[in-house]
């Protein structure tokens, strides 16, 4: 579904991702692991085409999208939930969700039912400013906004980072439901090994902008984690 070939990514002159090859299959949750600063976020940003320069091939459903602008990639079906949520200030909750609808080729102005089914809580806050919600609610809003783009792949950058434990559980549940029930392919950056093991089908551990280890999630042993993610 998503295939990276010899991907290199740069911020200005600093080379972050080195000659990376990766394949994400349809219908799976693919988990990106690794210490801070190894290029996980940069990898996701390269996929959506934000602020990074890339060389190499990014193939999405058989088509090279590496030269397309960000909005065109969103319209093709890449839904992006950035680190730190990035709720648009000054816009209400509803406006934030509707922003996602700009990527839809169909009805365009209506929020898909899937959004309300997944996050019914948002219905109670439609006309508040998005940035006034709590951290956990903002995270759900960010995912809702990405769902409104009607994506076939959802890119999630640490969706449960810095969020109160009971909401973490809700968010984890909705991520698995989106994958298992609604068939969304998901690329997930995650620090919580427990969730990575239970939700993901496959994983890759990055080190210095390269894939160090990858495999099925049942191969994600404690030994690997200590070697590549421990301090």
């Amino acid at each position: 579904m998503l295939k990276l070939n010899h991907l290199n990514a740069f911020y200005g002159t600093s080379h972050i991702i080195h000659d990376l090859d990766l394949e994400i299959r349809k219908g799976e949750i693919f988990c990106l692991l690794g210490r801070n600063g190894v290029g996980k976020t940069t990898l996701l940003r390269s996929l959506v085409g934000i602020t990074v320069n890339t060389t190499g091939r990014i193939e999405f459903e058989g088509r090279d999208i590496s030269t397309l602008p960000t909005h065109a990639r969103a319209r093709l079906g890449l839904g992006y939930v950035p680190q730190g949520r990035e709720i648009v200030p000054g816009l209400t909750v509803l406006e934030n969700i509707l922003l996602g609808c700009n990527a839809r080729e169909d009805g365009r102005k209506t929020v898909p039912q899937l959004v309300w089914d997944t996050f019914p809580m948002l219905k109670e806050h439609l006309h508040r400013r998005g940035t006034n919600l709590s951290g956990g609610q903002q995270q759900q809003l960010a995912i809702a906004r990405a769902l409104a783009t009607d994506p076939s792949v959802l890119l999630l950058d640490e969706p449960t980072e810095g969020i109160q434990p009971n909401v973490v559980e809700d968010i984890e549940k909705s991520i698995t439901t989106l994958n298992r029930v609604h068939g969304l392919t998901i690329v997930l950056i995650e620090q919580k090994i427990r969730f990575a093991r239970s939700a993901a089908h496959r994983f890759a551990i990055l080190e210095k902008g390269r894939v160090r280890v990858s495999g099925a999630s049942n191969e994600l042993s404690n030994d690997l984690i200590h070697r590549h993610m421990g301090l």
Binding site: H71, A74, V88, P89, G90
Partner: protein, 296 residues
């Protein structure tokens, strides 16, 4: 009272020009130094259209909006877009465009080289005929109120309301606000942010074009008339608080009235001196401007 109405009309012009500048700056963080030339172009559209097509000042309003908007669109796509994120380079480039546009008027779009002169262009000062009904003065409560100045104020109010509606009530507006506040994530939501930039630039320039029509009714039109407007509009935007519509309204109001009253009591030079002093004072005590945008 008359001074107040004149101040109101100065404020109105300032507001319209500043609004365009603020929309452009707010959306793409570009200071368009050719913005004043959009005022100039609006004024020349009025001169040419009234001389050659016999159009009245009313029909020049939409026409000048369109012409200036097209110029703005061309500037955005051809010059500003390749320079995104390079503030100083865009400043220089747009200043260069400003000079080019002024000279184009002086040399009759280049036709002067072939000895062809177009009536209404060139370095000379031009005047625009104002319809009789706008030249009258109203007598209200023993004071004289020039109708034209009230007309200017009316146009500014309408444009302010239209812009408010456009920014806060339309789909384009919510895209515009989203691009201004968080460009990357907005693009990741499928919004073509470059298209929004171009449209914002065109709309801002179009507003300046309308201001040019209004100005041409009470000031002589000349190729270098635009420059002071960028400076004044920039002062209005900064003093009012960047990214705040109400702040722009208020600061345009204050600065326009200050200039008008001081100019009536003494002269125009003092008017401008006090205007600058007021801006300095505002910025000393409110460095963010009168209104701080809560979104940041």
């Amino acid at each position: 009272m008359e001074t107040f109405v004149i101040g109101l009309s100065i404020a109105s012009i300032l507001f319209i020009v500043a609004l365009g500048l603020a929309i452009v700056y707010g959306t793409m963080k570009v200071i368009n130094l050719a913005h004043g030339e959009m005022v100039m172009i609006g004024a020349y559209v009025t001169v040419l259209a009234s001389k050659h097509l016999g159009l009245s000042i009313y029909s020049c309003l939409p026409l000048a909006f369109l012409v200036a908007a097209l110029f703005g669109l061309a500037i955005e796509v051809l010059v500003v877009r390749p320079l995104y994120g390079r503030l100083l380079d865009t400043l220089l480039a747009t200043w260069g465009i400003a000079l080019i546009l002024q000279q184009l008027i002086r040399i009759h779009f280049g036709f002067a080289l072939f000895g062809i002169q177009i009536d209404g262009l060139g370095s000379d000062l031009q005047n625009v005929p104002v319809p009789a009904e706008l030249q009258q003065t109203l007598h209200v409560l023993g004071t004289n109120i020039p109708v034209y100045r009230t007309f200017v104020f009316g146009v500014a109010v309408v444009l302010g309301l239209v812009s408010w509606w456009l920014i806060y009530k339309t789909r384009f507006g919510s895209q515009l606000r989203a691009v201004s506040a968080a460009r990357n994530i907005t693009a990741a939501c499928g919004v073509n942010d470059k298209r929004i930039n171009a449209l914002a630039f065109a709309y801002g320039s179009g507003l300046a074009g309308i201001a040019g029509v209004l100005v041409s009714g009470f000031k002589t039109v000349s190729p270098d008339m635009g420059a002071p407007y960028v400076i004044d509009a920039f002062l209005v935007v900064v003093a009012g608080g960047v990214g705040h519509l109400l702040g722009t309204v208020l600061s345009a109001g204050i600065l326009g009235e200050v200039q008008s009253f001081v100019a009536t009591w003494s002269n125009d030079v003092y008017g401008r001196t006090v205007l600058f002093a007021v801006v300095i004072l505002i910025l000393l005590f409110k460095p963010q401007g009168l209104f701080v945008s809560r979104n940041r």
